[in-house]
């Protein structure tokens, strides 16, 4: 049986993943900055 996943869902998955990974970099660097300023890296 074949039921194609709609293109809009594929768009959301792929764009969501790329944007999500990009946001991930910013989140990591922001957390590093916050921990470093408070002296709580380690």
């Amino acid at each position: 049986m074949h039921l194609a996943i709609p293109s809009v869902i594929v768009f959301l998955i792929v764009y969501g993943a790329l944007i999500g990974a990009g946001v991930g970099v910013i989140v990591l660097l922001a957390m590093l900055w916050k921990d470093w300023k408070k002296g709580r890296l380690w």
Partner: protein, 475 residues
């Protein structure tokens, strides 16, 4: 052996990148390793790791060379569900978040996952658990070394044995000097590089091809890849999820991080790391899906990622993939070396064989164990054993440990007999399913059998476990 004209990069470029990054990791490892003044520092980075480093180390460790190389293969063979199936491995990290809080509450001074099983279930379950976890860890370690050597050879023509030796050498050296401090510090940089690399390559491929074009090409040439009802893909989705739960819940790589992070940081860091990890296999998988729209003839599915990246981005794409692959390998190999040596020193050396419990002697044994593990991995990798098969075979073994771990952490009535039977019967039936039905059912069946046995044993048990027996022992 590949020659320079058939590979994506010239071997000299490959060697240059390998030496530059290798020297960087070793230098940083030695620099951060100076913080490791005590055995606790060497083994658990002083038990005070913050949110940024904690999140990055959990994420980077879970990004293996498989994540960036096998996710595209999943997408190529099982389509949209295939790449989502790979991403479900992140649920292991998400669900380990509450477990890590419970672990820190029950066993605040613990060292390894083995400590918990020994104190909670006794010797028989502990020995069984150690066998499962050591087989799995070695299979993971050797599969990384083998994949690393082969990938470097495919990408740059560096001979397999040289590339594999170099990767293992670099990881052993900086783990040896810096312990978990070096591992966690380098993991942060590696996770940022991996994320940037994946986003960059994925976005550039997307801009070059266009998603509409990719979708239409798949619709015409490979419609099964966008089939929402592809049975194997749907089964592999759940199987991968349970394999991921088993891998994360039982393995000392994750337990050692739970012990290393500050108590309030551990659950949040694991949860955020799961969220950050989730998009990576999808972004990497999308690169493979673009192959047909780009008119690329994929002969070897294992090289589809680098092939697409280099055909769209030229040498820059190949260099980016090389760096991302090297970071993925290093971030997992260093963690496995550190966590497995902790397990061998703490559980086998100290608790089983009665090694001297003094700082200097333990640290010396720990360093020797890291070297021995590195050497054993090198020997197995040099024989080019197909450890990826053993890694997949270990799926049902680790899946059988999911419920003994959860039960042991939360239910007083969870008992030794139930845990032993759950691991033994779950593993055996899971292995039978692996051979009789297919790899995509093995972890699922093993986890289901193990869960049933564990729940039945809890229902019938009159056990009333005193949690103080764990916390008061201090590991």
């Amino acid at each position: 052996m590949e020659n320079a004209s058939t590979t994506l990069l010239h071997p000299n470029v490959g060697w240059l990148l390998l030496v530059l990054f290798g020297a960087g990791w070793i230098g940083l490892g030695i620099f951060w390793g100076r913080r490791a003044k005590s055995f606790d520092g060497f083994m658990l980075a002083g038990r005070n790791v913050g949110m940024a480093l904690g999140t990055a180390t959990a994420m980077a460790t879970w990004v293996t060379s498989n994540t960036v190389m096998l996710a595209p293969v999943f997408a190529l063979e099982k389509g949209i569900w295939g790449m989502i199936a790979y991403s479900t491995a992140s649920f292991g990290l998400l669900l380990f978040a509450p477990l890590s809080a419970r672990i820190r509450q029950l066993i605040p001074k613990g060292y390894t996952s083995g400590d918990f099983i020994r104190l909670r279930y006794g010797r028989l379950a502990w020995v069984l658990f150690l066998i499962i976890t050591i087989v799995y860890s070695m299979a993971w370690l050797v599969s990384m070394g083998t994949a690393g050597g082969k990938l470097l050879q495919t990408l740059s023509g560096i001979p397999y044995i040289n590339g594999m030796t170099m990767i293992l050498f670099v990881c052993v050296v900086y783990t040896l000097f810096g312990g978990l401090y070096a591992v966690i510090g380098t993991d942060f940089i590696q996770s940022v590089i991996i994320l940037i690399g994946v986003v960059l390559v994925g976005s550039l491929v997307l801009f070059k091809t266009g998603l509409t074009q990719v979708y239409q090409s798949i619709e015409i040439h490979q419609p099964s890849l966008i089939n929402a009802l592809m049975p194997v893909a749907l089964l592999s989705l759940f199987n991968n999820m349970f394999f991921g739960f088993g891998e994360v819940f039982h393995n000392n790589v994750w337990w050692s991080r739970a012990f290393a992070m500050r108590k309030d940081v551990a659950p949040r860091a694991f949860f955020v790391s799961g969220l950050l990890w989730f998009p990576i296999p999808i972004a990497a998988g999308f690169i493979a899906l673009s192959a047909s729209a780009l008119g690329i003839n994929v002969i070897d599915p294992n090289t589809v990622g680098p092939l697409v990246a280099s055909s769209v981005l030229g040498k820059t794409g190949a260099i980016l993939v090389f760096i991302v692959v090297f970071c993925s390998l290093a971030s997992s190999i260093d963690s496995l070396l550190a966590a497995t040596s902790d397990l061998l020193v703490e559980d086998v050396g100290k608790k089983m064989l009665g090694a001297k419990d003094n700082e200097q002697s333990l640290r010396r044994i720990s360093k020797l164990t890291i070297c021995a593990l590195g050497l054993l991995t090198w020997i197995l990798c040099a024989r080019e054993m197909n450890l990826l098969e053993i890694l997949f075979l270990s799926g049902p073994l680790v899946a059988s440990a999911i419920w003994p771990v959860i039960g042991g952490l939360y239910w007083k009535r969870a008992n030794s007999m139930g845990a032993v039977l759950a691991m033994v019967i779950g593993s055996i039936i899971g292995l039978v399913a692996y051979y009789q039905l297919g790899w995509y059912t093995a972890s699922l069946i093993s986890a289901a059998i193990s869960m049933s046995i564990m729940l039945l044993s809890i229902l019938w048990s009159r056990n009333d476990f005193d949690w103080k027996r764990i916390s008061e022992t201090n590991g």
